[in-house]
Symmetry: C2
Subunit: 122 residues, 2 copies
Amino acid sequence: MTPPRERYRDQLEILQGTLDMLILQTLQWGPRHGYALSKAIRTQSGEILRVDTGSLYPALHRLERKGWVAAEWKSSEVGPRLRVYHLTRAGKKQLLSERSRWARLTEAVAGILNPQKKESES
Amino acid sequence: MTPPRERYRDQLEILQGTLDMLILQTLQWGPRHGYALSKAIRTQSGEILRVDTGSLYPALHRLERKGWVAAEWKSSEVGPRLRVYHLTRAGKKQLLSERSRWARLTEAVAGILNPQKKESES
DNA sequence: AGGTGTAGGTAGATGCCCTACATACCAAAT
DNA sequence: ATTTGGTATGTAGGGCATCTACCTACACCT
């Protein structure tokens, strides 16, 4: 048994290229550590968007490398250590840019999905 | 000089995973050949979504392999030969499925981008 | 003869996201 | 007491869609 790698990518949970924006946006509400971030995204999206750890942590490292987030270790006296991320100034700018790209693209896709044939009737 | 592969993927034109849906949707208006398809998508999206041939033709072959579109060669007496694609029954079903996934995901993303904090006020 | 637009196509690279696995700590259940 | 389960961070390897860059071929115009 144990179907080997069945059903990969039939239905991706997250649209490729949007995870960074989701993380940046969530961090704008305030600093958070990775695990809390993933739960926030899951909750705020109504349990639709589920971020796997194998996507989350590489994404955070990526964002850190690009200077859009910064992080500090916080060794809480109870429980495992936390790495708390916060938006940088560049990150806020990037978030705006990605939001506008998202708006542009979803509008464009909507233009395909629900076309209106008339160019008159402003 | 000749900067080797500069600026790849700073801003993708098309969200990964949506091209198939765009093609299927466009084919629902009627059979088209590849090149016309790419122009239709470009036009209908207000010049936002630009489909490169290196994405388009592999996508069409992919869709054909999956049985969502079918095609015939049409050797027009004037100009180069055309490969005209049309939606299959399975393709129409697939289109509905991808549209619903798109709606679900964009709603979820909107939930992140524009959150409302109250759960009262049904 | 060369340029432009139409039309179809491939090769190679990039890199995001996924599955699967690993570690470590802690609390509660058996 | 040990096992389960939740929290928390992480890596390894793979799939695959899209992009850049290139190719052929035909027709028309200059």
